[in-house]
């Protein structure tokens, strides 16, 4: 188990490094001079030159990469060349909003999706199963940005029940919750379908296993068979999916953040790409990539911890 954990951690570091290298290459492939775009078309040559120097744009790409990576290893993500604020601080201000959105968005999807999947599996081909199937496929098929727009138009504009923009007043928890409902609904809806489908498929597979039949033949109550024996095994692929889903939502929340004008890391990266603010993009992507890798690592470790078969295969 420890060897597995070390191996996965090493792999995680490689993934983060490759992601940063790819990011560097992609950033420099984007057409247009970053400083001119960031400062606007009227920047004088002297100002452009000064900012190019600040952003190390005159150095070869490899040198830029190593400067960034060596600084990052010491915990220094650099400073925004314009505002001269620390990139770590800029990202740190936005990260909690995205984390809360991702946790709540995925949280309600888990709370609804897993029971729906279980119920469908327990009564396959029933009316409930068919309705759940249609709803699941429907929610998977509709992109979250479309859900965001429709939710906004219906609940905020037409019915006026929910706020349209922002994250609420910082010192007012109720206001923040009020502002969280629609974006969390929008990004979580698709995951309800994913989870319900996955849990249903896993449950159906597990329900046919010998040990479930044995449990039933011993006369154990159906509820116990399902929740204590079947779900415990069927949930394993779901844990991996939740890990991936959470990581995905860290960056994927960008649509909801833009449409609802919410602060967050996704929107920060989007804004910074539009203004070619390289230091902030690099820092923000490094942090989100690291979090993504860390969360999937944790999910894998949880699976290995829960499932003795995985542990045995590692040995």
């Amino acid at each position: 188990m420890w060897f597995y954990a070390l191996k996965r951690t090493g792999l995680a570091l490689v993934i983060v490094s490759v992601a940063i290298l790819l990011l560097f290459s992609l950033l420099h492939l984007i057409p247009g001079d970053p400083v001119s775009i960031a400062l606007g078309p009227r920047a004088t040559p002297e100002i452009i030159e000064r900012y190019e120097e600040k952003m190390h744009l005159n150095d070869p790409l490899v040198i830029q990469f190593f400067i960034f990576l060596s600084n990052a290893l010491t915990g220094d993500l650099g400073v925004d060349v314009f505002s001269e604020r620390s990139v770590a601080r800029i990202v740190g201000e936005q990260l909690p909003y995205t984390l809360v959105l991702a946790v709540v968005g995925l949280g309600w999807a888990v709370l609804l999706g897993i029971p729906l999947g279980c119920l469908s599996a327990v009564r396959p081909h029933s009316l409930l199963d068919r309705i759940t199937g249609v709803i699941s496929v429907g929610t998977i098929a509709v992109p979250s940005f479309l859900v965001s727009i429709w939710a906004l138009l219906i609940f905020a504009i037409h019915l006026n029940w929910m706020p349209v923009i922002g994250a609420g007043e910082p010192d007012d928890l109720l206001d923040q919750i009020h502002h969280l409902i629609l974006p969390a609904f929008a990004i979580g809806l698709g995951w309800v379908g994913y989870l319900a489908r996955l849990v249903r498929a896993s449950m159906l597979e597990v329900m046919g296993e010998n040990y479930i039949r044995a449990a039933r033949s011993f006369g154990l109550p159906q509820r116990m068979v399902i929740y204590r024996y079947a779900l415990k095994v069927a949930i394993l692929p779901t844990i991996t999916l939740i890990g991936i889903g959470f990581g995905h939502l860290l960056a994927g929340a960008v649509y909801a953040e833009i449409i609802f004008a919410r602060p967050g890391v996704g929107k920060l990266i989007y804004d910074m790409v539009m203004s070619r603010n390289f230091p902030v993009i690099q820092g923000a992507v490094l942090i989100t990539t690291a979090m993504y890798v860390f969360i999937t690592l944790i999910a894998d470790l949880i699976v290995a911890w829960i499932d003795p078969r995985v542990r045995e295969s590692l040995q």
């Binding site: 984007i30 057409p31 247009g32 001079d33 001119s36 775009i37 400062l39 606007g40 078309p41 009227r42 004088t44 040559p45 100002i47 925004d80 314009f82 505002s83 001269e84 604020r85 800029i90 201000e93 936005q94 906004l152 138009l153 905020a156 504009i157 006026n160 706020p163 349209v164 923009i165 922002g166 994250a167 910082p170 833009i258 449409i259 609802f260 004008a261 602060p263 929107k267 920060l268 804004d271 070619r276």
Partner: protein
């Protein structure tokens, strides 16, 4: 001596009264809070650098207007915008062509204990700006002489008419506390070392700019006790926020302006903040296909500008006759060419350019692409085949710049929009000889234009200046390299509860917003 000795009943009554009053007290405070006049506006970009010396502009200028003093402010009371003394200024006069005397009002204090606003602050700020990113606006400043605490003289190297509206009244003319700025290390980015304006300022990154009444402000009290500048970068999200009543005022695009002209949301009005932008079809005079002036003149006659204004902008913009924008001296009211496809065909035929094929590049924005498509149809009608290429900002802004590569040699036609300031010199400076291959993408130069540019800067008589700028626009037009299209206004939608106020460049002036 009488000692108050209450009965049990009196004691309980008193206790009840105290209890009730303590219960009601927060309610009274709440009522006062509810009575607070709050203005919520949309701001479309987060701040980057508040220091006038190195700011980017836009949002930063709106913040500077609210929290920093200026020697001169914009006066709209008598038609075209004029300069007037700032709220902290007793008197400011042009003594002669190169000397401007000013007297500050007493009693205006900087926050954070940095003392009174003084003539030393003016000297420090203006002379510091001479070596700033915005030094172009201070090129003609020689020095500021301080007479005493409140009096001083601005000394210019040579007469420079735009100094009033373009330099002193603009964000780059915002005054700083010398002591506070020096204490901050001589520069700052997102934290103002001291302010002296009608509002104090608090920034929540990527969320909002909060302005509250400055209790030490000795000037006129604004109508609104609190202004919340909510950051909504996307235009469509801003529209939704406005329609849901979450902001009182938001800048809108031309497309939304056109939509609202047909059907206005309830209790709403449109406010046109100014049209200090000029939009044109440009031609590369050095490109082999466009080298013949008859071809360029043919294109001038072939483009139906009125159709573009209706088709791309739904009539929400003002027709352009040159780079000098509406409300400024030197604004023209006609061009020497007109829409005449027959003449265009004749010129093409004379130039032997039948079957000409051209590329038209534009930023990939709705109105501009529509305008490009109308031009494409217009030119097709006179026998010129045009390929429209919408581009992202990155490659577009490099098109005509020699420093960015050789693409300027291949550029043929483009749709371009520049913004400007409330003085015509700003619009003209991009077309000078030194700007060829920088911002003069049309790549022409003219001795008379150069001479007039220099003369107009030093001319104080506005009538003479006006005629100089008109002649300069005529010279530009005679190159055949321009089809003037429109001046796109900056437009706001606001609820009828408020009346907005903006600078000529459309930056909001929060202390000027009125309750309707």
């Amino acid at each position: 001596m009488n000692i108050y000795n209450p009965t049990r009943r009196e004691f309980l009554t008193t206790l009840a009264c105290v209890g009730a009053s303590s219960f009601l007290s927060p309610m009274t405070m709440m009522a006062r809070a509810q009575g607070k006049q709050v203005l919520k506006v949309r701001q479309d970009r987060d701040l980057q650098i508040l220091d006038p010396a190195s700011m980017v502009g836009g949002t930063e200028i709106e913040i500077q207007f609210a929290v920093l003093p200026r020697l001169v402010e914009f006066d709209y009371s008598t038609g075209p915008v004029r300069p007037m003394p700032g709220a902290t200024v007793q008197r400011i006069v042009q003594r002669d062509a190169t000397h401007i005397d000013f007297t500050l009002k007493a009693g205006f204090k900087w926050t954070n204990g940095f003392g009174d606003l003084s003539a030393e602050d003016v000297k420090y700020t203006y002379e510091r700006m001479k070596t700033s990113d915005w030094s172009g606006y201070y090129d003609q400043l020689e020095r500021v002489d301080v007479k005493d605490k409140l009096n001083g003289t601005i000394v210019l190297k040579q007469p420079f008419a735009p100094f009033w509206l373009v330099t002193m009244a603009h964000g780059v003319g915002s005054l700083l506390s010398a002591k506070a700025t020096e204490k901050a290390g001589g520069k700052f980015t997102t934290e103002l070392p001291a302010t002296c304006g009608p509002y104090t300022f608090q920034w929540t990154p990527k969320q909002k700019n909060m302005f509250r009444l400055n209790p030490d402000w000795a000037g006129p009290k604004p109508d609104f006790d609190e202004v919340q500048g909510l950051l909504v970068e996307q235009d469509k999200a801003a529209i939704l926020a406005y329609e849901a009543g979450e902001v009182d005022c938001s800048e809108i695009t031309s497309a939304d302006h056109a939509r609202y002209k047909k059907k206005m949301p309830p209790n709403s009005k449109i406010f046109v903040a100014g049209a200090l932008q000029y939009f044109w079809l440009g031609m590369n005079t050095e490109h082999p296909k466009l080298k013949d002036i008859r071809v360029r003149k043919a294109i001038q006659h072939a483009v139906d500008v009125d159709s573009i204004i209706q088709g791309a902008y739904s009539g929400t913009v003002e027709k352009s006759f040159g780079p000098v924008c509406p409300g400024l001296i030197g604004k023209r009211n006609k061009t020497k060419y007109s829409y005449n496809p027959a003449k265009a065909k004749q010129l093409i035929s004379e130039a032997g350019a039948n079957g000409l094929e051209l590329e038209l590049k534009t930023l990939n924005q709705q109105e501009r692409v529509l305008a490009a498509q109308i031009i494409q149809a217009n030119l097709q009608a006179v026998g010129i085949k045009v390929k429209v290429l919408p581009l992202d900002g990155g490659p577009f802004w490099a098109l005509g710049q020699e420093k960015k590569g050789d693409q300027w040699k291949e550029s043929q036609l483009w749709l371009m929009r520049y913004g400007t300031n409330p003085d015509p010199y700003e619009a003209m400076q991009w077309f000078r000889r030194e700007q060829v291959g920088v911002w003069n993408w049309e790549r022409w130069s003219d001795d008379e234009f150069e001479e007039l540019y220099t003369k107009a800067l030093a001319e104080i008589d506005s009538t003479k200046r006006s005629s100089m700028y008109m002649r300069m626009q005529e010279i530009m037009e005679d190159t055949g390299a321009y089809v003037w299209i429109c001046h796109e206004p900056e437009t706001y939608i606001h609820n009828t509860r408020v009346m907005p106020k903006t600078a000529p460049g459309a930056e909001m002036i929060f202390q000027g917003f009125k309750r309707a």
